[in-house]
Amino acid sequence: MPSVKRLASDSSKCIGCGACMTACSTLFFKVDDPARSCISVTPSDSGSKITVCDQTCRLCVAECPVQALTVSSQGVVMLDRKLCVGCLACVAVCPIGAIRHYPGSANPFKCIACGACARKCPTGAIGIVVEERS
């Protein structure tokens, strides 16, 4: 039975500190910049809204013309930047804005469920889960 590894979130526990975004953008882009973080936390009426890929809808995988987006053995949607031609069709079809793009950069980026952000979260609002799927 295939599994899906993903970052689960509980926005009721989120205090909006932004530590997750700092962790993510620092790890992947070597800068502390929310616009370059795979996870996004924005204020909402009920506190905070956490947006991150749930690895399951896979509309982006279907849309990619070069099959640069594939599903790993752990059920994670991964981008192969060597194959990517930067068309950003994946960004357009993502229903929640979880594939992101920084203006002027060659490729989009997305959460690969590495867990770096979860390790920095002070309240346990985010964490890696592995779910079995039928």
Binding site: E63, Q67, V85, C87, H101, A106
Partner: protein
């Protein structure tokens, strides 16, 4: 045998090198290489040519470059099969970007076998963008080979070679696969190979097309898009070219080296989102492509039926888009170039062929597009979608234009109906309306170069001459019902009730293709351009605007087959103002140069008028050549008139001022005809005036001077006609 199923080593063993040319690889700079590639398959000469500053400034790219090079290659007496005729493939600065939908088009020009003047086609597939990134803004192919050759442009290594290739297939669906298998280094490399080819039909007919391939990674098949109109495939096989092949494996977002990548991405992403959000409520291009149009055209009495006699049929539901939707494979990114989320290039997989040399084979059929559904369906009375699919497949692989084949076959069928043809003249084929098996057999006879297939392959103008000379048919009747203008068969819309569209078709420079203007809804349905001046303005603006796609390497479809949600509330919804702004934005983002709306039209007007003078130089392009067959203007026959008697009687009464009661139908047909032909004359006057042309349709010296194309060789063509 290799994994591909082809004996590639055996094919390669038959190759004999002709010539080789090494060139310095250089990156594209802001959409341009500023050099073109010249290949002569007759004497083996291969060379690169610099693009002059004047050529770039005046001709922009794409069709402009293709026409400029073609002008210099031919002379006023050049025929399509003379060695100096060329096949030129050019792209344009915007072409090849992966961000804005519809940015992968190649523009192909040549002197046409059916019209004798320059023809131009706008075609998808990967060849053009790969050629550009291999290092060239255009490819110019001249000469005639003695034996079948392949031209290979290796954009990775910077080598162009010509070699004799006796063993490869001619039919495109096989040849394109062979080229992928032959030139790719491994499975991952297949997507980096694209070929241009024709087919066996193009060897025997004047209506040959070119197939541009694009390798579909998911289907694992080389798919085909067509440069269909005007017989360029026929020129290709006459030159004994089996394939032009290009390899480029370095594609990424910077291959086109835009001046402002972030700006390009922003505009591209905006349109991607619009398409993803709105397409299923608008044109359903992502579901079924242009075939969504069939039922709409039928509803508005615009779907050509029985050689354009009628605009709808009770049988049309057989060709409903949902019938084809059930046959194509869904959920795949069907763009013919990367980054096209409009994804209209649909394909049916595992389609089992019922006839012909590939009978029993399960194949991938690209299409059908609307033009094929109408041309190889309703216009010949065929309402079985499987027959349309099979005609689509064989036209493509034989290298034949589905539009010209459909319109030519419709003409054959009406000639059969009127007794011009019988089975002794058709070699036993019963060319009655809707006889699918007979049409397929006719197509196979073109493929084999056999009997009546050779006659049908002449196209409508050729058949008109043949039937008059050999069968004593009435030339006037043939002229009225033979749906061609300048020698090119009409594309698939009934234009009888739209004067503006009659002009849009028959004033189109290359012949009656609707890519210059499609004004039927604006004119007939919405009545937005009621006066001659209004129609003339539309017949100025839209041909100029649409020419721009061909200068840039763009597809027309993402302009108005998707519209912003608020488009209807803009000042000029038919122009889709927000999308025009998008084009100005992506042009600037790529080239770094500012462009406004007037500048866009001016870029087009230069090339448009240059093409017009080119047509005159080759012996056509004056008022007499812009005259449609009456079938495209109104009811030719009593049968047609009576099928829409209420409409026509009302027009006689309200527009012509004649009381039809008590008149016989032939008298009513004649009265309506006189009225419509007079209005068409007035339309010609108004449009020529708006375009800055004389009453004879010749651009004036002032017009050419104002556009900066008053070159001595251009003035030399028009001056005798202006005196």
């Amino acid at each position: 045998m290799t994994e591909s199923g082809f004996d590639i080593a055996g094919l390669e063993a038959g190759h004999r090198p002709v010539s080789e040319f090494r060139y310095e690889k250089r990156p594209v700079v802001r959409g341009y290489n500023d050099r073109t590639l010249y290949v002569n398959v007759g004497n083996g000469r291969i060379a690169e040519k610099p693009v002059s500053a004047d050529m770039r400034a005046k001709f922009t790219g794409g069709k402009g470059y293709g026409l400029r090079l073609l002008w210099d290659a031919v002379n006023p007496s050049t025929k399509w099969d003379d060695p100096e005729n060329e096949i030129n493939i050019a792209m344009g600065p915007v072409c090849g970007n992966t961000n804005y939908p519809g940015s992968g088009k190649s523009l192909v020009v040549s002197i046409s076998p059916t019209t004798g003047i320059p023809i131009d086609c706008n075609v998808g597939g990967y060849f053009g963008p790969f050629l550009k990134f291999a290092g060239f803004d255009a490819l110019e192919v001249q000469g005639k080979a003695d034996r079948d050759v392949i031209v290979f442009i290796d954009g990775d290594d910077g080598v162009v070679s010509i070699f004799e290739a006796p063993g490869e297939a001619v039919d495109s669906h096989v040849l394109a696969e062979q080229m992928v298998a032959m030139f790719s280094r491994d499975e991952k490399d297949r997507q980096h190979i694209s070929s241009v080819s024709a087919g066996t039909g193009a060897e025997h007919a004047l209506i040959g097309c070119l197939n541009f391939s694009f390798y579909d990674k998911r289907r694992k098949v080389a798919r085909l898009k067509q440069a269909g109109r005007g017989g360029i495939g026929t020129v290709f096989r006459d030159k004994k070219i089996k394939a032009l092949v290009v390899r480029y494996s370095g594609l990424d977002v910077s291959s086109n080296n835009p001046a402002d990548l972030a700006g390009l991405q922003e505009t591209g992403l905006k349109l991607h989102r619009e398409i993803v959000t709105l397409d299923d409520q608008q044109c359903r291009m992502r579901e079924i492509g242009t075939a969504h149009l069939t039922e709409i055209m039928d509803e508005y009495d615009l779907l050509p039926t029985r050689n354009y006699k009628f605009g709808s049929s009770p049988d049309s539901p057989g060709l409903d888009s949902h019938a084809f939707s059930a046959m194509v494979t869904h959920g795949l990114p069907d763009g013919c170039w990367y980054g096209c989320t409009m994804a209209c290039a649909k394909a049916a997989d595992g389609f089992e062929l019922a006839t012909g040399p590939y009978r029993g084979h399960k194949v991938t059929v690209d299409g059908p597009e609307y033009e094929t559904v109408a041309g190889c369906g309703s216009n010949i009375g065929v309402y079985d979608p499987r027959v349309v699919m099979e005609l689509n497949f064989y036209c493509d692989t034989y290298g034949l234009d589905t539009i010209s084949f459909g319109t030519s076959t419709a003409f054959v069928m009406e000639c059969w109906e009127k007794g011009v043809l019988d089975s002794t003249r058709t070699g036993g084929l019963e060319m009655t309306w809707g006889n699918g098996p007979a049409v397929l057999e006719l197509l196979h006879r073109i493929g084999r170069g056999e009997g009546f297939g050779l006659v049908a392959g002449l196209g409508v103008r050729g058949m008109k001459k043949y039937f008059a000379e050999h069968y004593g048919a009435d030339p006037k009747l043939l002229q009225d019902i033979g749906c061609e203008c300048k020698g090119l068969e009409y594309s698939q819309y009934v234009s009888k009730e739209s004067l503006a569209q009659q002009g849009g078709y028959s004033m189109a420079l290359k012949g009656p293709q609707h890519d210059e203007a499609w004004l039927i809804f604006m004119d007939m349905v919405n009545n937005r351009i009621p006066t001659f001046e209004d129609k003339a303005e539309a017949l100025y603006y839209f041909p100029m605007f649409r020419t721009w796609f061909g200068l840039q390497g763009l597809c027309k479809l993402p302009w108005n087959d998707i519209e912003p949600a608020d488009n209807a509330s803009t000042d000029e919804p038919a122009k889709v103002p927000e999308h025009v702004e998008n084009y100005l934005a992506i042009y600037k983002a790529i080239t770094g140069n500012d462009l406004d709306r007037d500048g866009l039209i001016r870029q087009s007007a230069r090339v448009y008028n240059f093409q017009k003078v080119f047509c005159i130089r080759m012996g056509k392009g004056r008022r007499i050549d812009d005259w449609p067959p009456y079938r495209m203007m109104g009811p030719v026959t009593v049968e047609e008139y009576e099928s829409r008697a209420d409409r026509y009687d009302k027009q006689l009464k309200e527009q012509v001022g004649i009381d039809p009661s008590g008149m016989g139908t032939p008298g009513k047909v004649a009265a309506l005809r006189a009225y419509r032909e007079d209005r068409y004359e007035k339309l010609l006057d108004a449009v020529y005036k708006r375009k800055g042309w004389t009453r004879e349709g010749v651009p004036t010296v002032e017009t050419l001077h104002d556009l900066g194309i008053d070159y001595p060789e251009v003035l030399e063509v028009v001056k005798p006609l202006l005196e």
